[in-house]
Symmetry: C2
Subunit: 285 residues, 2 copies
């Protein structure tokens, strides 16, 4: 059952993050997984849909040739068909794909709505073996003005660099969409995965919402953290994905709340920054 | 019972954070609280002792005059007596005090060992009513080379600006000592206080230890988070303070581990930063 759709003029946005399990190299299968997720989200009048990193291609490539065979451009039929799926809706989809950049490959994410591909961001902080297949992006992550507010985009390991969410917040992002594939790592019993702790801190430090879509299943023996979550502007998790939610995190958010950065009568999260100091060297004593 | 002292040449350092309950304005009382804490730590052969923000003065000042009456300089007998307490030890104490800076007051922390006051840091991000009493510091937080490694210093709200721990980590800090007075705020049941989540993320993002000494008791109706904790370089809490531990967090740490920033064969926490990008504007689409 789905709650009634938010009134589009109420400032409420419905966020859906779906934790897919693509098959590495199987473009047709992965396309259907992604499109099914978008159809489900559309039927629930979702406003913002986040799908995983490299959702079109899978992640655990055997070699660069295999990665190359999964690469598509932002002009690919995948995106024209996705745009068609969104026709007549105000839904915005953020989805990771393996980008054919000519001689090089990028681990990219596209922001797509009924008007087409609004932005492509090329991951700038590559994780582990990604460095063997991909070229890091050379442009700062974008902020895209949508019908539902300003959406920033980061991909997976990018989020672990506090400079990245900070830059997006100062550029006006209300929500940061994070397609991700978090490889499962050990963590102490009773603790959240460290990547989630980082995401919580990034949300709170910047007063922004963060919506992470991680991976389900396993791929060539690689298990995933399955950390899909929507985090509010105070850093608290408001939705997570579990088997019981069919690997979907769904929640309604009030994105305009991210524009109030005040913490006390005397404090403001962004204005309190001391950029003069951050450019100084630390005294060494 | 106390475990045997670490061998001073083993690279192990014993960290003690004590969550004191000073009385606002009562310098003599607060001095004895602090000195008792140092004597306890000394008897356990503690290497690094962290005491709260404004431990000498208390926090909830009625007005600027009251704050002024508690102000001391780094040359005050408090520090010469503290130095004397440390004579013959390798113990380093980080303690918050209300600093008499001539015409202005600072919310400061001193790093003190047997050689005397090694550094004074003046808090640069002032919280709420602190702005009524204190002048913000104009120097980046220091990194102090001690017998036990390189200690960075932040005070309370400073830690919520990810730029600050980042700057200390790039300046070589192994451990960040954080005298703090965290006013108790509501947080969802079962969650850690948000300030701790921020501290965990800061530790992990930078691969540094963080030792926070918060406050016990209440002061003029103000309750405290009582979040005293030592956090390891992966972001996990290794010691906390409770009534059962007599408001002390005690743990042995391997500070040299903070110097290995590698995360994978292809990744390094600090070298993976893209400072070229962080200086760019976010594309606005």
């Amino acid at each position: 059952m789905t709650a009634p759709s938010p009134n589009p003029d109420s400032g409420v946005a419905r966020v859906v993050c779906e934790q897919l399990a693509p098959r590495v190299g199987d473009l047709a299968h992965n396309r259907e997984l992604a499109f099914d997720a978008v159809r489900r989200a559309r039927s629930e009048r979702a406003d913002i849909v986040v799908l995983p990193e490299l959702a079109t291609s899978g992640y655990v490539f055997a070699d660069a040739d295999e990665a190359r065979r999964t690469a598509i451009t932002p002009g690919d039929v995948f995106f024209t068909d996705l745009t068609r799926l969104l026709t007549g809706t105000r839904t915005v989809v953020v989805v990771g794909f393996c980008e054919d950049g000519g001689p090089t490959l990028y681990n990219s994410a596209a922001v797509v709505d009924a008007d087409g591909v609004r932005a492509v961001y090329r991951k700038t902080h590559l994780w582990d073996r990604e460095t063997l297949f991909f070229t890091p992006g050379e442009q700062m992550a974008p902020v895209v003005t949508t019908a539902h507010g300003r959406i920033g985009v980061l991909i997976c390991y990018d989020l672990e660099f506090p400079e990245m969410p900070r830059r997006l917040a100062t550029a006006g992002a209300d929500l940061i969409a994070v397609p991700t594939n978090w490889p499962l790592e050990e963590h102490p019993a009773g603790e959240r995965p460290a990547e989630i702790v980082q995401a919580q801190a990034a949300a709170r430090a910047n007063g922004v919402y963060i919506a992470c879509a991680d991976r389900s299943g396993t791929e060539r023996g690689q298990a995933w953290t399955q950390g899909t979550a929507v985090i509010n502007q105070y850093g608290w998790l408001t939705a997570t994905a579990t088997a019981a939610t069919r690997h979907r995190a769904v929640t309604d958010v009030f994105l305009h709340l991210s524009r109030d950065k005040s913490l006390s009568p005397h404090n403001d999260l962004l204005r309190d920054r001391r950029t003069d100091l951050y450019a100084q060297e630390s005294p060494q004593l």
